[in-house]
Amino acid sequence: MSSEKVKPDAKYAGELLLGLTMTAFSMFVIVEAVGMPQRGPGGLLMGPGFVPLLAGVVLLLLCSWLTLSAILKGGYRQLGQCLRDGVADVENKRFLIILAIMAIYVLGLLGRIPFIAATVIYYVLIFVYIKAGSLAKITLYTLLATFLFAFFLPRLFEMPLP
């Protein structure tokens, strides 16, 4: 077979990576499920681990199928290139920065500073980064959205805030 005929698409490399990750996850589920106590007259069949075990085994089969077909389609050849492209991709960098802003809001600010202040910081950061408009527009969006979702709605539904 000539190399021209085999042009593995980079998407199979991604599927291979995801397939391997999920195969590992399904193995973890199986091991955990087997370790759960066996109860009732049927032992494992009626114990708390039965359905997780069943789900884990079927997931393992399906993920193995996915992984195997990605390998057969040549995904392993593109792994290195796929990783390099992923790191260099502009949209991926943009996603990572948005993810970081969201992580700062959810994991860093919530519960540590007042909710309104955390929400204002989040809106300013994300609106500025994605260039949602002029400074005046960003200020307006931030104030309106903060008022609505960090002040009005919680009071309307009498909700405590983080």
């Binding site: 106590p37 943009r94 948005i98």
Partner: protein, 496 residues
């Protein structure tokens, strides 16, 4: 069979209807409830269940029909507008609107948002009207059949829903089923119901398990935020604005799909906990299989939106049957309705029709009025909500991100739910990048617990002779349906 009890509610229907429509306070309450329901249904994370549960303390202070009318109107309004959010921003406002995303969102991306929303409102309107009508007709009879459904059949119905959702939600059934199984495993986390064993309970929060709302917001909401904002020029919904009416031309064109979806939805709605989420998928699948334009399904087919929406609204009728006849809630909102009934001293159960003649008819009339009031309200407010949801996405999506945080927080007032929402958002984003459909995962999370408990309870019941369980007639039909779905999908996939 006691025919006098069976026809009692039918005979009382006109008198009850007259009594209700002659109460202006009740009519205004239903209209307000419908608008409130539409608003909460459109806001991802602020669910109908949440609004209803927050209001239940208030409704206790008002007369029975006013209180129940308000709760029902919120429910109906949220069911109707859940499809709007699904269409406009790819986030189902309610779990039952998950199948609406399949064709509704592609239609909106094609600039046909108004048409899709009209189809959604028309489908759900007819679903509500015909669903309750069918329920009123069949309630006494279906109750007898529902009594025969054991744990084994409930497990199989849940399994059928998961299998169908996995097979239908994407181009690749393998990825759909993987997604559904991931959801099922997520549902396994926490204290299980039979032996009270904390599965995967590594922390106190995990012992409690994942609640549904943060998972839904993360998978559908936050992953959409990431997906769209990742592109430097986020696409914008450019749907035509204007008033959304119930489109009778669309109803006439799709009447067969609507009637079929309603019948399926009422039938599935009877099964507790499964109905709303599974019915829309089953009806969607049937519409796709029978359509001459089946290749257009998933790419923006109006019939797909109508099938999903008429089914999810009609399910409320089916869900009423176990709720009213056995006191078993068919869904989250009907659980709150049952709680409301208990607060008013009405005991749902086999004796309901004897102790409270006309009550079933009253509930059906309230649902019908709520359906009408919601669509009347939609005519007035739709120009504004379409405009709001059509706002530039670089403004809308960061706002949706913070709203998702608030919605996840409101699910249990714990930061763990917010962290879970964030984690589901990242997982959802990664899966979306690799063309894994997310709706089956949501269904897996929703029915996972029910499937698990039902299966093991059935195995415990038939522990002496499992063969007896396997030859139960309804179970055999359901097993055949599951097997046929799996085999046909695998054959179709391997032929590609």
């Amino acid at each position: 069979m006691n025919w006098s009890i069976i026809i009692q509610e039918w005979k009382l229907l006109p008198a009850v209807a007259l009594e209700i429509v002659s109460s202006p306070v009740l009519l205004v309450t239903i209209a307000l409830g419908g608008v409130l329901g539409m608003t909460v249904g459109m806001l991802p994370g602020i669910s109908a269940v949440m609004a209803m549960s927050l209001l239940i303390g208030f409704v206790f202070r008002v007369p029975t029909e006013i209180g129940l009318g308000l709760l029902i109107a919120i429910y109906v309004g949220a069911m109707a507008s859940g499809g709007v959010t699904a269409i406009m921003v790819n986030i189902p406002g309610t779990p039952a609107a998950a199948a609406t995303v399949m064709d509704g969102f592609p239609l909106a991306k094609q600039g046909r948002a108004k048409e899709a929303v009209e189809a959604s409102f028309s489908g759900s309107f007819m679903g509500e009207i015909l669903g309750e009508f069918t329920t009123l007709l069949l309630l006494p009879f279906i109750a007898v059949i529902a009594l025969k459904l054991g744990d084994w059949e409930i497990f199989l119905v849940a399994l059928l829903g998961i299998t169908l959702a996995g097979a239908l939600a994407g181009k690749n059934p393998l990825k759909g089923w993987i997604s559904a199984l991931l959801g099922l495993i997520v549902a396994m986390v926490g204290m299980e119901d039979i032996w009270a064993y904390p599965r995967f309970g590594y922390t106190p929060e995990l012992v409690r398990g994942f609640t549904f709302v943060p998972a839904l917001i993360g998978l559908f909401g936050l992953s959409e935020v990431f997906t769209v904002l990742r592109q430097s020029r986020p696409y914008q919904i450019v749907g035509e604005g204007g008033r959304v009416l119930v489109n009778f031309r669309l109803i006439k064109q799709n009447i067969v799909t609507i009637v079929r979806s309603v019948l399926v939805a009422v039938g599935i709605g009877i099964v507790p906990g499964v109905g709303e989420s599974a019915a829309c998928w089953v009806s969607y699948d049937m519409a796709r299989r029978r359509s001459k334009r089946k290749d257009h399904f998933g790419q923006g087919e109006v019939e797909g939106v109508i099938a999903a929406e008429s089914a999810n609204s009609a399910t409320s009728g089916g869900a009423l049957i176990p709720s009213l006849v056995f006191g078993i809630p068919g869904s989250g909102p009907t659980a709150i309705l049952i709680a409301g009934m208990f607060m008013y001293g009405i005991r749902p159960g086999p004796l309901l029709m004897i102790e409270n003649p006309g009550f079933v008819a009253e509930i059906v009339i309230l649902f019908w009025l709520a359906a009408i009031a919601t669509r009347a309200g939609a005519v007035l407010i739709s120009p504004y909500f379409i405009r709001i949801l059509s706002s530039p996405r670089e403004v809308l999506l960061p706002i949706a991100g913070a709203l998702g945080v608030l919605g996840a927080w409101a699910a249990g007032f714990t930061l763990f739910d917010v962290y879970a929402m964030f984690a589901f958002g990242v997982v959802g984003f990664i899966l979306r990048q690799r063309d894994f459909p997310l709706a089956p995962m949501v269904l897996g999370i929703l029915v996972g617990r029910l499937a698990d408990t039902s299966l093991r309870r059935a195995l415990l019941t038939y522990s002496s002779d499992i063969g007896e369980m396997l030859i139960r007639p309804i179970g055999m039909v359901l097993m055949a349906a599951v097997l046929l779905t799996v085999i046909s999908q695998i054959r179709a996939y391997t032929r590609k």
